[in-house]
C-alpha cells in the first residue's frame, strides 16, 4: 500500500505544493487503492479515472508554473452521488436516475473544481439519502471497512467508508437527519453538518429541502475544516444560502489542536443521555466528557424538553417535502422510463413503481398523506410547531453552554440486514442527530474511541449555534488531539480482498 493514501489531506496538500509529490501521483495512488479494495467495500458508484487524472495534471502544471494554488489543490476527494456533476453520472443511489448525466455542476462541485481538488468519483448512498445504512441503495450496500459484514452508516455510507478504507482523504456528504454524522461515527471518521444555509444546495438533489445540508467528511478535524472553507459561503443560486462570511474554521481547528478549552462551557443534553445506548457507546461518551473536562472545559447539564418530539416531527416534515421533491421523477424528461403505459399518467406511475425502492415509496406515501387536505394541520402544521419549540430549546441551551454534546449514534455499526426490514429501528439511529437539522444549527461527529464490547468506532457529537462552527471545530480539534495523543488515530483493519 502506498504511503500517500495514509496521509491527511493537509499533509498531502503540503507535499504537493512543495513538489515532493505530484497531484497525478496522489490521484493515481488513490485510484489504485480503489481498484484494490472497492470491490469489497463498494464505496463508489462511479470512478472518473480520466477526469481525475486530468484535473490533477492541471494542478501540477499550475504548481510548475509557479501559480498560487488553493490549500487543498491536488488532494483527491470522494463526492456523494447526490451532487450533480457534468462529467459523471448522478444517480442518488436510485434506479430512476440510472445513467443520468446532469447538464450542469452543483455549486459544491464547481467550488471543488475551482480549488483544484481531484474528484475521484461518486459515492454510494441510501436512495435519495433516505436511510441510515446505505442498504437502501439500488446498487447494493456499501460495507464498513472495520467489518465488511456491517453497515457503514447512511445515507452517506459510501463517503464515510471511502475515508475509512483510505480510498480518499476527503469526501463530501449531505446531512438531512444525520447522514454525514452517523456514518462518520460508525466508521471512525470526522463528519460535519454545517449550519443550514452554510453550504449551497444548488445541484444537491433534494431529499428534504428545509433539512438537507452538504458538508465535509475527512479523517481529521483540520482536514474537514480545510474542506469546509472550500465549499462554504453564500451562493446567489440558492435563496436559502446565508449571506455571511464562512466561519474561520481552519483557524479554529488549529487553535483547538493546542488542546486548551478553559473557559468553554460544554452542555450535556439530558434528553440525549437516556436509555437506548449500547454500553460501549455510553462508556465512550462518559470518557469523552472526562477528557473535555481535563482539557479545561466546564461541563454543564442542559435540558431540551422538546427533543423527544423531534423524531416524530422529522418523520412528518421530511416525507412531506420528499413527496413533493421527488414528484419530478416522472419519466417525461430524463431518467428511467417504463414505456408500456397507454397514457402519460400510466407511464409516470409504472416508472415510479419500477424506479423507486421501498423506503422511498414509504416516505412518499407518508408525505402525501401528511399534506393531504384535512390532515395538514394535524401533521405538517403540528410538526412545524415542534420545530419551533426545538429551536427554542437550542437557544435556551446555548445560553448556558457554548457547545452541546451527545453520543452521535446509539450503537456501533450493526450487521448488514439486521434493521433493513424494520424502519422504526432504523430511524432510531438518528435520534440524537435529528434535532440539529430541525433547528438548522451546526453539528459534527468526531471519533471518541472504540466500544469495549465489539471494538468498533464510536462518535462524539458536538453541536453549536447557527454560524457557530468555529467553536465547534475548536472543541472537536482539541478533543481529537488529546484522544489521538493517548490512543492514536482510529485506523480500520486492512480490508480483506
Amino acid at each position: 500500500m502506498s504511503d500517500l493514501i495514509r496521509l491527511s489531506a493537509a499533509e498531502l496538500a503540503e507535499r504537493i505544493a512543495a513538489k515532493e509529490v505530484s497531484a497525478v501521483e496522489a490521484a493515481q495512488a488513490h485510484l489504485d487503492r480503489i481498484a484494490e479494495v472497492d470491490g469489497a467495500v463498494h464505496a463508489f458508484l462511479h470512478v472518473g479515472t480520466e477526469a481525475a487524472l486530468a484535473s490533477a495534471a492541471l494542478v501540477d502544471e499550475q504548481i510548475a508554473a509557479g501559480q498560487r494554488v488553493s490549500a487543498l489543490a491536488g488532494v483527491p476527494l470522494a463526492l456523494k452521488d447526490v451532487f450533480t456533476t457534468s462529467d459523471m453520472p448522478t444517480t442518488c443511489g436510485s434506479k430512476i436516475l440510472e445513467g443520468w448525466r446532469p447538464p450542469y455542476d452543483a455549486t459544491v462541485t464547481t467550488r471543488l473544481r475551482a480549488a483544484g481538488i481531484t474528484i475521484l468519483g461518486k459515492t454510494n448512498m441510501d436512495e435519495f439519502a433516505m436511510g441510515s445504512s446505505t442498504e437502501h441503495s439500488a446498487y447494493g450496500p456499501t460495507r464498513n471497512p472495520w467489518d465488511l459484514s456491517r453497515i457503514p452508516g447512511g445515507s452517506g455510507g459510501g463517503s464515510a467508508a471511502a475515508l475509512a478504507a483510505f480510498e480518499a482523504p476527503l469526501a463530501i456528504g449531505t446531512d438531512t437527519g444525520g447522514s454525514i454524522r452517523q456514518p462518520a461515527a460508525v466508521t471512525g471518521t470526522v463528519g460535519v453538518k454545517p449550519t443550514y444555509g452554510g453550504v449551497s444546495r444548488y445541484g444537491l438533489v433534494a431529499c428534504a429541502s428545509s433539512l438537507d445540508q452538504g458538508g465535509p467528511c475527512a479523517r481529521t478535524v483540520l482536514d474537514a475544516a480545510l474542506l469546509h472553507e472550500v465549499i462554504g459561503g453564500h451562493d446567489p443560486l440558492d435563496s436559502t444560502s446565508i449571506d455571511a462570511p464562512v466561519p474561520s474554521v481552519v483557524e479554529a481547528a488549529r487553535l483547538g489542536a493546542s488542546g486548551d478549552l478553559s473557559g468553554l462551557r460544554v452542555g450535556v443534553v439530558k434528553e440525549l443521555g437516556g436509555e437506548g445506548y449500547q454500553p460501549g457507546v455510553r462508556a465512550s461518551f462518559d470518557e469523552g466528557l472526562q477528557r473535555l473536562e481535563k482539557l479545561g472545559a466546564e461541563i454543564v447539564e442542559v435540558s431540551c424538553p422538546h427533543f423527544e418530539y423531534g423524531m416524530a416531527a422529522y418523520y412528518l416534515i421530511l416525507p412531506s417535502e420528499v413527496s413533493s421533491n421527488l414528484a419530478r421523477f416522472d419519466a417525461m424528461r430524463y431518467g428511467l422510463r417504463v414505456q408500456e403505459g397507454a397514457s402519460a399518467e400510466e407511464v409516470m406511475a409504472l416508472t415510479r413503481e419500477a424506479g423507486f425502492g421501498p423506503e422511498v415509496k414509504r416516505r412518499i406515501i407518508l408525505g402525501t398523506y401528511a399534506l393531504s387536505s384535512g390532515y395538514y394541520d394535524a401533521y405538517y402544521g403540528q410538526a412545524q410547531k415542534v420545530r419551533t419549540l426545538i429551536s427554542r430549546d437550542f437557544a435556551a441551551a446555548f445560553a448556558k453552554a457554548d457547545v452541546l454534546v451527545s453520543p452521535t449514534a446509539p450503537t456501533t455499526a450493526f450487521p448488514i440486514g439486521e434493521k433493513v426490514d424494520d424502519p422504526l429501528a432504523m430511524y432510531l439511529n438518528d435520534l440524537a442527530t435529528i434535532p440539529t437539522n430541525l433547528a438548522g444549527v451546526a453539528g459534527m461527529s468526531v471519533p471518541s474511541g472504540l466500544a469495549a464490547e465489539d471494538g468498533l468506532p464510536v462518535g462524539l457529537q458536538i453541536m453549536a449555534p447557527a454560524l457557530g462552527e468555529a467553536v465547534m471545530y475548536r472543541v472537536g480539534a482539541a478533543f481529537e488531539a488529546s484522544r489521538v495523543a493517548d490512543e492514536g488515530l482510529l485506523i480500520a483493519p486492512e480490508v480483506a480482498k
Binding site: F83, S320, D330, E345, L371, Y380
Partner: protein, 497 residues
Amino acid sequence: MNTLVDYPSVVERYEPTLGLEVHVELSTNTKMFCGCPTTFGAEPNTQVCPTCLGLPGSLPVVNRTAVESAIRIGLALNCSIAPWGRFARKNYFYPDMPKNFQTSQYDEPICVDGYMDVTLDDGTVVRVGIERAHMEEDTGKSLHVGGATGRIHGADYSLLDYNRAGVPLIEIVTKMIPDTGGRAPEVARAYVTQLRDLISSLGVSDVRMDQGSMRCDVNLSLSPAGSGVLGTRTETKNVNSLRSVERAVRYEMSRQAGVLDAGGEIVQETRHFEEQSGTTRAGRRKETSEDYRYFPEPDLVPIAPSAEWVEELRGTLPEKPWERRARIQQAWGLSDEELRDLVNAGALDLIEATVAAGAPAGEARSWWVAYLAQQANSRSVELAELPITPAQVARVIALVAAGDLNNKLARQVVDGVLAGEGEPDAVVESRGLKVVSDDGALIAAVDEALAAQPDVADKIRSGKVQAAGAIVGAVMKATKGQADAKRVRELIIERCG
C-alpha cells in the same frame, strides 16, 4: 339538452353574481425563478435551464422585477401589500409541469383587499372589489397530436415546450360582484378592459389576450331574484377576448337559468368557452376533487417588501389611463367617438408624446390617424411598431410650420424616416426635399412658365387670377414639387401685374 332562457327573462327572475380571475403574464426580461429569457415565439425548448426544466438539484431564486411588478399592480388596484409572505407548492402531476408542482402564492398573497372603479358606457360606475393578486409561475405548453379532441386523453403523442415554464404570472381575483343584474356581461367586459388598460399603463405586461399574456376565467352563479341565497357557481375558462368575456357571462346566465327553470341543479364545474358558437361546455368531470397538498415552498425565503420600497413603487405609478383619457379629451376637445377611435387605433400615447415633443395636438393627431395609420395598415403592423418616433413626427410638423416643407414633401420625409434613412433633417438633406424659397430661382421658373403659355399669361394680366393655377402647376412641375405653392402664386401675380 338543456334549453336556454332568453336574456330579458333571466334578468327578470334571477340575480347573477360574478367573479373574475385574470392571469397576467409579466413582461419581465427573465423568468420568475431563473435567468432564462421570456421572449414570445422562440423555437421550442430553447429558453430553458436546469431550474425551469426542474432538473434534479436545481433551485429557484425569486425575480425581483416580478415582485416589483406585482406590487405596482397591487398598488394600482388599491390593495394592501403584505409585509411578509411565502410561496407555496401546488402539487399535481402533469407533463407540462417540470417539477410536478407549481410554485405559487397560496394563503399568503402579496396583494390583498383592493378595488377598481369600473365605468360603464353610460357613465355608471361600479366598484369591483379585489380579493387578492398573487405571483406564480406559468407552466409549459403541451401540443397533443392525434385523437379527436386535441386533449391529452386519446392523443397519439404529445409535444412539450418548456419555454413558457416559469414565466411570471400575476393572478388577480375579484371579490364576488353582486347586484349587477342584466348588466353583468357589460360589467365583466368593462372590468377586464379597464384592468387591461391599467396594467398596460404600468408597462409590466403586454396584456395581449390573443397571445395568452392575459387570460380570464369567469365565475358565475344565479340566485332567484330577491331570495338572497347564493347559487352554485361555474368557472368558465378559455375566454380569450374582451368580446368573449361578455358573451360567456351572458351565455352562462341563460344556460344556468334554463337548468334552474327545469328544476335542475347547477354543478360546480369548470366549463370551456367555445369561441365559434359562443357557448360553454362542461370540462371533463373529475371523479374526485383535486387535492393540491399545498405547503410552504422550502426552497425560497419569504418575500418581505419593506414599507420604504412599497412607497417608492407607489411613487412610480402613472396617471390612471381613464383619468388620463378624460384629461386629454378635455384638453384636445374631442368627442367621445373621436377619443374612442384614437384609443382603438392605439394612437393616444403616440399623439400625446408627439404633443409633448412640441407639436400642436390637431396636427399630431392628423399625422397619426391618417398618413401614419395608412402606412401601418399597409405594413400590417401596429401603429406603435412603425419605425418612427413621436419626436420625429413632431420635427416634421415643425418643419412644415416653419415653411421648410410642404405637406407633400413632409410625407416624403416621413417615408424616408420609415425607410430607415435617419432623422427627418437628415432625410431632407439627403433627398434634397427642402422647399425652394429662393425667389430668384422661383422667378426664373415663373417667367419661363409664363413665356411658355402666353395665352394664359394674358388672361392673368387681364385680371382672371384663377387662371394662375395652370402656371402654378407648371412651376411646381419644373421645381419637382419643392416650391411653396402659395409663394409661387404670389410671384405669378406680381410678374403679371
